[in-house]
Assembly symmetry: C2
DNA sequence: TCAACTGTTCGATTTGATTCGAACCGTAAC
DNA sequence: GTTACGGTTCGAATCAAATCGAACAGTTGA
């Protein structure tokens, strides 16, 4: 049931993470998820066009920042907190804290 | 003698730091500086055009990632390691380690 | 089956960053 | 003085990312 399309923990690169986080919308996604564990796509970026939002999910997924779980027609996103913390300790906290 | 044109420690934002680090050349600068304390501009990016290099110094400076010291006509760059570590612990280490 | 809903993909446009050469400024050496 | 050097600034060109609408695929419920 885990629709895991992103890199394995060991394959997450700091370059991809930095690139993923260097965008206001994606930063907002990460901060929203950090406060809420797991959320549906539309709950995260309700004001953003579907295609644009989908583009950002992809960037975050491929960078290894988020993982997704599909439940029917809904998609739930969740931070890969453990993976990120173990691989780049402090980075996620710094980003969320601001 | 400190030609400090960047933000004060408390004014360094994670957004600016992420944007500064999201570039291959600037990442290379940070990693080079991390291994060498203080370096002249041309020692860091000898193969890059002056104007391009200068552009990247500016981005790194304004983000608060590096500080500079002018000695005659030479400019020496140095990581603001203490400032970054105190403000965003773990981030610089993660970036340098890769 | 059919309509409604969630999210993806495609293609085109727009936007912003990067890049470079040329001119420039300040310093150093002669 | 002048010439050489290190770095900045300016403007234009280039290139990559973001954005959007439209068409699409899969799921749900009537």
């Amino acid at each position: 049931m885990e629709t895991e399309e992103g890199p394995a923990r060991g394959d997450i690169t700091i370059e991809a993470v930095l690139a993923a986080l260097d965008h206001p919308l994606r930063l907002r996604v990460v901060r929203t998820l950090a406060a809420a564990e797991e959320l549906n796509c539309q709950e995260i970026l309700p004001d953003i066009t579907k295609s644009t939002a989908s583009h950002h999910w992809k960037v975050l997924r491929e960078a290894g920042v988020v993982e997704q779980r599909r439940e029917g027609r809904y998609l739930y996103l969740r931070l890969r907190r453990e993976d990120l913390d173990s691989r780049f300790p402090g980075v996620l906290d710094a980003v969320v804290r601001g």
